[in-house]
Point group: C2
Chain length 346, copies 2
Amino acid sequence: SRNIRLAVIPGDGIGVEVVTEGLKVLDAVGTKLETTTYDLGAKRYHRTGETLPDAVLDELRGYDAILLGAIGDPSVPPGVLERDLLLRLRFELDHYVNLRPVKLFPGVETPLAKSRPEDIDMIVVREGTESLYAGAGGVLRRGTPHEVATQESLNTAFGVERVVRYAFEQALARPRRKLTLVHKTNVLTFAGDLWARTVDRLAPEYPGVQTDYCHVDAASMFFITQPERFDVIVTDNLFGDIITDIGAAVAGGIGRAASGNINPDRTAPSMFEPVHGSAPDIAGQGKADPTATILSVAMLLDHLGLGEEAARVEQAVADDLLERQTNWTARSTHEIGDDITARVAG
Amino acid sequence: SRNIRLAVIPGDGIGVEVVTEGLKVLDAVGTKLETTTYDLGAKRYHRTGETLPDAVLDELRGYDAILLGAIGDPSVPPGVLERDLLLRLRFELDHYVNLRPVKLFPGVETPLAKSRPEDIDMIVVREGTESLYAGAGGVLRRGTPHEVATQESLNTAFGVERVVRYAFEQALARPRRKLTLVHKTNVLTFAGDLWARTVDRLAPEYPGVQTDYCHVDAASMFFITQPERFDVIVTDNLFGDIITDIGAAVAGGIGRAASGNINPDRTAPSMFEPVHGSAPDIAGQGKADPTATILSVAMLLDHLGLGEEAARVEQAVADDLLERQTNWTARSTHEIGDDITARVAG
Ligand SMILES: CC(C)[C@H](C(=O)O)[C@@H](O)C(=O)O
Ligand SMILES: CC(C)[C@H](C(=O)O)[C@@H](O)C(=O)O
């Protein structure tokens, strides 16, 4: 089998711990793997002032994929690492699809009293390179009573069309074949109009797919009251950020939410990361659940064409989650990692 | 007692039905009431092309308060009535506080398996006159592959400070005295910085209030997993739109979510409306729950200084909701209105 060249960015806080377990599982899959670790994150920032040096970014372009733990630390001003490291990676590597499955595994407890695994099984295709995440905006008269602060959402036909097409294809590949656009067309009239027109224009090219529309406020409610309403969702970068955290909550917690920052054109490596953050409050204590990272590893394998291996990892996680229900014991980060690794290897 | 001059805008769909019940309750309170109904909404738009004529807006300025049902109909292009009627009212009448209690009444079923009424009791102070709701933005090369669509979020020290002060005062008046800012400072760095600095700067003036910060994505999750975390929330217009729908869902449904669009300086009348929309799918069938409107009427009474009357209406609703649990029968819109009215009158 081929050799996977993987760049690993453990990052901050629990990122380091969960990535260790992800790599353990990856090893057990039996793929030839060559990993290089990059010390990007808060520590490097404090030591050298660097977030993502251009030379490192260029090097990263040469890998098959990137595995990232988590970025962020309270010792760094808000936005610095997020914007100059995490979001810069997503933008520079053109990760225009931020793929986030929302799936309640059997055995996992959901906070929703009446929802069952068959009710919560969707994929959110979040746009990853536009909208308010572009970083456009400014400030005038900062710190005075006359301060004005702006943020600009930038949206292009090019950027919207490619992610909507990706979402249509995801919908085609699933049994329900339903695609819901989530936006706020009644308030964000310019951007919303572009998104809605794009979905309508492309729909005839995917005759098997049923399309639907939902305002982001209503969708946020339906994630809780009628999650079965959704199959594939396509949405803007900011709305996708919010609804995938709601999705993580209803699917049993952020400890199980995986994601892929995908460049479908493969002009640069895609990057896989758990949806959760660096959780400085529990860092270094072996309390973090590595499951989200391990599921992200499954997405990584799938992206690299190793579908069988990906399925094996996902099955190992599913079995472990079911086992937790009937036979629950408190396990540390690396115990969970070991158990899932054993299932993958065995 | 004094005469309340009330402008009533039933609007579209179920708006008409729920407002009828709200007025019934208001009558039963025993205040002297003088109401004038305005036919703004989809019907008038189709008949005359008008959304909110300047002359009508000027007339509305003369009332003590406005009661609004719901605005919106699928026959009108998205955004037209929302922007030119509903949002125009909020902006022109300077409703800079959009006050939205999120409260699980005893007896009401929540979709959350483990949350109890004491866990879900917060007030969201949503800013009402700035940010992406300003309508700023534009489009270039519409309908071509080179289309660019922008939306601009406009935020001012003036606008942020006044709503943050209002929220601090709300927090002071509640037993827990906790104020949480919800924003996305790590991505919306200019606007987020203004909001965060404003809260920090004003905090020393309210020494009894404990302040906290939460990103909107995490807050959306915590509404589901740890709603007890929140007491008073202050947030931006768009984030407030989204999280109050999550709040409505966890507090047992949009049928119970009340709101006040408040001008605290009383330079123009405040406007009270249920959070739900016009629900064209069930309009005219007597299926709508008027409870959200009746609770909005309680907020209206409170705003007009009729605290005792407001408490009576809220108690009548609380009693009705408790009764529904033990003695449930399907009731039509006006039956629910009649039952609550009887409790208020009795
Ligand atoms: C850390 C932050 C910039 C990031 C985002 O907003 O995209 C995170 O919330 C996520 O969802 O991956
Ligand atoms: C109808 C729409 C413009 C409105 C809003 O976004 O404010 C509604 O969702 C609300 O919350 O009152």
